[in-house]
């Protein structure tokens, strides 16, 4: 188990969906940074459940309580820890998955890894709920980056293959008791050239490592991405030119990264989000106790599509990975 990220800014996430609290410790924040708590809460709210008809009706404030690391709202150099109390949990919803793992969820793999001692309620530590502390950390880091003029913005590109009207795809899936996935694109502006490293510690390596922490992410591509595998060098190469004293490229197929290092062009990547595995439709599964195949009907409250709520999570993971690299210098 390692829910820890980072070399210079260490992020440790803890909690289960139905434990007393979830939270995050950030070790390595600069002292003297004043957190804009309203802005942070607005960022958290983008991820929070129960805000519209497309997301689960479970309503929670997702309001972080800072138990260390601040004097007032200002970082003091000590590790910052923020927690969110878990309330409004209905563990009985999950009684049956103790024996019958949900397809597409981590129930079975957690069961094997933790020998049956895993916390199954609400998906335990594997729950999408754990992206709330990720967003606390990412929201704070985004504020720090913004001070240097660096912005991290993600948007929905398509849902269920529909890039014109993503929400219609969600509506249709919901009507069928089904769910649907999508693709998110994230753009980082304002990054100077020279951030990152070659080989194992480049910008792509680290953003990928951080972004795959979001449950449901199944792919990532930078710049032209998979499409680059289908074209010629003469088309894919981005030619350099001077804009005043600034070196730029005329196209950005490289997604702002060459040799693991930022070029000064916007960093651009896309992330594939699989459909929420929890669906109302009956599914085939197994029963551990009876050692035979069984049928599962998932109860509880679930999003027909978590793509909209994943958008700030992608920003958070990206911001954390980039800031850790920036601190290298």
């Amino acid at each position: 188990m390692s829910s820890t990220y980072g070399k210079n800014l260490k992020i440790a996430i803890f909690g289960q969906s139905h434990s007393e609290a979830i939270g995050v410790t950030m070790d390595g924040l600069p002292a003297g940074f004043s957190i804009d708590m309203d802005e942070l809460q607005s960022f958290m709210n983008r991820r929070a459940p129960g805000r519209d008809k497309y997301s689960t009706p479970r309503k929670e404030a997702d309001k972080p309580d800072f138990i260390s690391g601040l004097v007032g709202n200002v970082t003091c150099g000590a590790p910052l820890t923020a927690i969110i109390k878990n309330t409004n949990t209905r563990s009985s919803d999950y009684d049956n998955i103790r024996d019958i793992p949900r397809p597409g969820h981590a129930d079975f793999t957690a069961h094997v890894k933790y020998g049956g001692f895993e916390d199954v309620s609400g998906g335990g530590h594997f729950s999408g709920r754990l992206t709330a502390p990720l967003c606390i950390a990412g929201g704070i880091v985004k504020q720090i980056l913004a001070e240097s003029g660096i912005t991290v913005d993600a948007v929905i590109k398509e849902i269920g293959g529909n890039s014109e009207d993503p929400y219609r795809a969600i509506e249709k899936a919901r009507g069928r008791g089904d769910s649907v996935g999508g693709i998110i694109e994230c753009t980082v502006n304002g990054l100077p050239a020279g951030i990152g490293n070659p080989m194992f510690d480049g910008v792509e390596n680290n953003i990928a490592k951080a972004v795959f922490a979001i449950p449901a992410v199944k792919g990532i591509e930078f710049g032209r991405g998979f499409d680059a595998g289908r074209i010629c060098g003469s088309e894919n190469n981005d030619e350099f030119y001077y804009e005043g004293e600034q070196v730029r490229t005329r196209t950005n197929n490289h997604g702002g990264i060459l040799g693991g290092i930022t070029s000064g062009m916007p960093v651009v990547f896309r992330v594939a989000i699989k459909p929420t595995p929890s669906i109302s439709i009956q599914q085939n599964s197994i029963s551990y106790s009876r050692g035979e195949d069984d049928i599962l009907r998932v109860r509880g409250r679930h999003d027909p599509c978590i793509v909209p709520r994943a958008v700030p999570c992608v920003e958070a993971a990206c911001a954390i990975a980039l800031y850790d690299l920036i601190l290298d210098i």
Copy 2:
């Protein structure tokens, strides 16, 4: 700069395209493992240049010299270091890129990061040549995994968009002095369920981090990947069933990984390889010294497509990442 990977098995890669030698140190190998040197050389040869008409005519044995860590061919517990001497280098080929960065290469970003002190010859530490020590390490790890029945095999899925006849796409690009990219698929069989961790330290996070060390990789997707973002949960969810006492899934859209942890199904992922940036066609670039736009004509020996040579590199990176996770237990 961090050309180091791993927690339990630490891999440190060093060297530049035209330095005296390139090599790798592996710290954390089990003592008593007998390396099959012929098999390792065969694996190295799959990556080596100059083997067929599609790859650069630069011929090098790529024969590792083990300067520590072995007694005979058997690991002794001490860090293993293998080097490959650089020969047959023609540094003068690279004189012009000291001033005019090649589009699509790391010349410019390295220049910014290392303040003009970077080794430009042959791309320095950013050269594809550095995948040779990656393959030494990966080739050894593949042998260790094979002892437990775990196999890592990558194949070309498509080149230049052509999945029927990839080599024809290379031929055409070469004829135009151009280059072409492709997509590689890697499959790991024999992995037990329960390998990997949730959040930041899962199988996807770590394979991605390792695979992006290969220059030219611009995307990675696991299982159904980006396509999963376009379908419904009822289609994407993989239903569990018992095959004897073994839990399996009827489909493998999850690519063998749920919640960052292996399910016992094959781990499957695809990697996007961009076209070789070095092309004979004249390109627009800049001149640092004159501070204005300039024209670049790349000389030297280059592959019209490095996808075939990247196949063993993908296997190597994947094997290294997985073995490091297996050692967690």
Copy 3:
């Protein structure tokens, strides 16, 4: 700032003396371990203040609240986080040290490092109070080690140079409004041979790294220690012999460690604890605001000797370091 320890079991400590709470996250505990909460509390009590006339009158339960990582009292594989609410804090006691740093404390160095944004109340993150979460983590690890028959026991060797009647030395110092230091010896029994690594990652390196986390530790020596620098090889070498099939040494000048690796003999080390810097006696210091020398009179509640309370902290740090190495295998 890095209050994080460990490779396999990651310990992250957070909190300031007067923040809302202090606590610890443990990432990497085995799933299925049942914590004996009474035993843990007994261990915590050995460190807790206000238990006898020699320690500060500040009374606190130091009762950990487990907010994640457990189902009942049993670890579930997810990161375990325990917090202790800070109560009974009198921040006004520390008003003057905001401007006048206390000799022997971290007030001045924290002031430089954190640019005046440090939390000065009660010493902030540098307070000895932060050894409470260290003891939560260490107490749990001690229970895990005990299951394998490994015991970690520290005792006071001397206080104020007095090894016959340490408490008399404390009494005398207290009478003068002064404080006094001491030496603690820790012995680990039951460790198998073969734990640890050569060079940078040996048993000595790691125990030392962990033990210096305890404020006031100024030295550590293993086995014969500094005395070994004063004798001959023929006296210092520990001869091997067989006791049945077990290899043992007739003496234990090596303190159970050779080449960074355990020999199967008890691991023995001693730690030097400096006298509590907080004394009632008036001291010379400086005033930041006035930029000149000043006089400090420390108010507040302080131990005349923290050596007795440091004993379980040494056990905790040692247990954490050893267990992390044991998990290597």
Copy 4:
């Protein structure tokens, strides 16, 4: 096995006493630093064997060959690797220790850890010879530190308990075929205040972790060290005063470190070096093959005292640890 150190500057040491070569990789050096090769060689020579009558007659140039990371003598940002070929090895000297472990050496513990596959020749990876690559790395780092006015200087304080005439103690031990240990003191001048971190990542933690990499080190103490455990707070506390605008302390019992962070006063620590375990005097040991006690007579060339040669090693380890912390900022 982990012969790797550092977070920002990663040092990986490899090689065995009688392998083809020993060496070190340094990943994270600044680009553009010009190494003074003569100065480095002078530093290496302080550690090299065979220079005077007190050290082993095995003569070796210990001349590093830089196989990567440099363009000319200037760092290029890529990982720097330097190797030293092993010559003048007489492996037959070590034939008997394959079965009979030498008291005080790592022969037995390595045998247990590596299951009999360890390289016994010359002590393998545990040999004091591996401090040569440590000195390559440390010598380079010392040059970098010197550019910022930071000096690291170690001296012999006593040998065999003799602080007046250390070399006389060596002479006497040599005459008896015995060996003798000693104490080295290291002083770092020019360090600014504010380097280091609280708890696990302070200056003491890291210097200790690095210094215990030197075989034969059995203890370390900072400032007043163990003596601080024997005195009162009023004596041990170092009072602050202004010297112009500079904050200083009148005494330096804290050894330049408070709360893990430098105070701007010299960092001072002492290290205990045990007597060389290799002595000509016959010793009791065991025979693995016969499973019973046996008698050992060590042949080969050995130093009666390695303290003089350990002096630059202490400087090297200290410089590496400090520089890694300085890069944190």
